[in-house]
Symmetry: C2
Subunit: 368 residues, 2 copies
């Protein structure tokens, strides 16, 4: 029986395990906490990713290794890659972990992005802001997620304190794009090089955290889909990528500007569990195992809501036809992703009615 | 967090757990073997169902108890029901465990069945056969499954040895119905009394084991569906049933004859994982928790194949669009259900083409 090691035991790892169990796969999870959500469904190794003895214990007897968060220490991924297949490859992590490398990679492949400047110091930050013109967004080059490690700079008065506020760490400054919409594409590439794509997803973020995804993105013209697929194809090939890759874009002036990529299954792909013939989780596993990829065709229309910070009462939600609840088994905490709800329907009109009902149910709860 | 105890740790328990984890549920499984398929995804208590200390250990801290096989010792179910909600209720087990009680229950509710006679001795067996006329099928009254504990009697010469061949245990003799088709209905009833039904499924058995299910059953007229729903409704109410209940029917002369019921999630409902809006596993859990039931609407058309005895190579199967593989993690053994494959498509014609491709792939493997 094939045993897959997963670096990280969060909800993404948990959903990988739930998708892999029916395929006859076993899993071992490495996480630094004993109550990791994925740990209840698989063998859990608790320890530090940079500790060689922990890595040895984790690696013993595994057939291959994958990951569920991109900030896996690169040394750990490389050390594992010396003895086992590691997918996606450490090179993809290296690019995704550093916003400057990532932007350069997009640039080299002809994938447009907002204008940007690196800023290794407070004075470089001021220089970058002057060159780009306000408003801009400053982000730490490394270890940012869910809106953490970023600040929007709208006036000159915002510029001065930013370097210290973001911890005096290397930054990237980007033009703040007045985008019309945010979309993402989920692409998957198999060990044998075959690739597939899901339809574009439209995303809504609040305070830097994904709130809602709709798939297929209703307004997305065939042209945007083709553009996104072409960009994804270039990235997958340039990185010799294996597994699911997500790319987030701004839609600005009717064209795509790449914001960032995630070398893993992605929150904007959770709708695929019910809304596509094969989920992103199953396709990630099929890809890293060298199995044929499953159909990425959508099944009707889906909207996914993240449950952030608190959980609404479940009965009113479950009463709405086509709703599917996914809880991660995490303790409530402000800003924490505790679960998600996907609403599915065969057509967009029925979906809209169900989404309205769900929205009303959630508003009633939030108003209390 | 709600913790559900499951009596039995086979594939049905495993699929209940896979459906329940996203709902935020925890599970504890009681099985008499340490390598029970469900045991890898939940806490496993290994022991004898009739041992009070084992039952105490199993029950401690649970919120409610369900089961995944109907031959749970009745004493164990009743002992648990004194301290915890047990769904389906022990009364339903009592009826389903005994083919004579079951047939009487059908009879009392006006649900037609093949003609039958109880046979508590070899002479009663001869008398029953004489009254019904050959051919008949003789079955042990208790503990039969997957064609075990049954014999078809076609000639007078078959009658003599049957009593001993079936172990000298109480039997039931039934007219062997030259049925046109076999169908089943999956019904579900909530703690609050609300019920729902899936569409009729057409089943094909080989050597007494379910081989293939198709849903919705293509030829099933609205009339048969209504008949099946009415029978299910009567049973659910008479037994004050909570959870999923399956009833298997013969179609003979265009009407339904009840063959048997299963007070649990059922093999002929596995297609619901991909082929219905809400799976039988999720709806069983919603029902026993008193949550709103999920939509039982089919999503396109599905065919499910059981993988019995051996597993075919997976790549050719996964290459066919719309196939979904479910392996149970059991060691191969002749006649053993090791997994199933569901093929799904939006329309019946596309499904037929995919089923053909799957059949050819399986035949090539079986011919080797």
């Amino acid at each position: 029986m094939t045993t897959i090691g997963v670096l990280g035991g969060g909800q993404l790892g948990r959903m990988l395990i739930l998708a892999g169990a029916p395929l006859g796969l076993r899993f071992r999870v490495l996480d630094h906490t004993a109550d990791a959500p994925a740990g209840r469904l698989a063998e859990l190794v608790v320890g530090d990713f940079t500790d060689p003895a922990t890595l040895d214990r984790f690696a013993a007897g595994l057939d291959l290794v994958t990951l569920e968060f991109e900030n896996v220490p690169l040394g750990a991924a490389r050390s594992l890659a010396e003895r086992l297949p590691v997918y996606p490859p450490p090179r993809a992590l290296e690019v995704a972990q550093d916003r400057v490398r990532e932007k350069r990679c997009f640039q080299e492949l002809g994938i447009p992005t907002p204008d940007w400047r690196p800023a290794e110091s407070a004075s470089e930050l001021r220089k970058g802001v002057a060159e780009l013109g306000l408003p801009v967004i400053a982000k730490t080059q490394r270890l940012g997620y869910d809106g953490k490690g970023q600040r929007v700079l709208r006036s000159e008065a915002d510029v001065g304190p930013t370097w210290d506020q973001l911890g005096g760490r290397p930054l990237i400054v980007e033009t703040l794009v007045p985008f019309e919409r945010e979309v993402s594409i989920l692409a998957v590439r198999c060990r044998h090089g075959k690739a597939a794509h899901y339809p574009l997803v439209e995303n809504v973020h609040e305070h830097g955290i994904l709130r809602r995804s709709q798939a297929p993105a209703l307004y997305a013209t065939g042209e945007l889909q083709v553009q996104a697929q072409n960009y994804a194809k270039k990235l997958l090939e340039a990185l010799d990528y294996v597994g699911v890759l997500a790319i987030e874009f701004f839609v600005h002036g009717g064209r795509l500007l790449a914001n960032e990529m995630a070398p893993r299954v992605h929150n904007s792909g959770h709708w695929t569990i019910e809304g596509a013939e094969t989920s992103q989780f199953e396709n990630h596993l099929r890809a890293i195992l060298g199995w044929p990829l499953g159909s990425t065709a959508p099944r009707g229309h889906s909207v996914m809501y993240n449950l952030i910070g608190t959980l609404p009462p479940m009965a009113p939600v479950l009463r709405i036809e086509g709703t599917h609840v996914h809880l991660y088994g995490k303790a409530p905490r402000p800003g924490r992703k505790l679960g998600h709800i996907t609403v599915r329907a065969d057509d967009a009109e029925t979906l809209e009615a169900r989404v309205q009902a769900l929205q009303e149910s959630m508003n009633r709860f939030e108003a209390k």
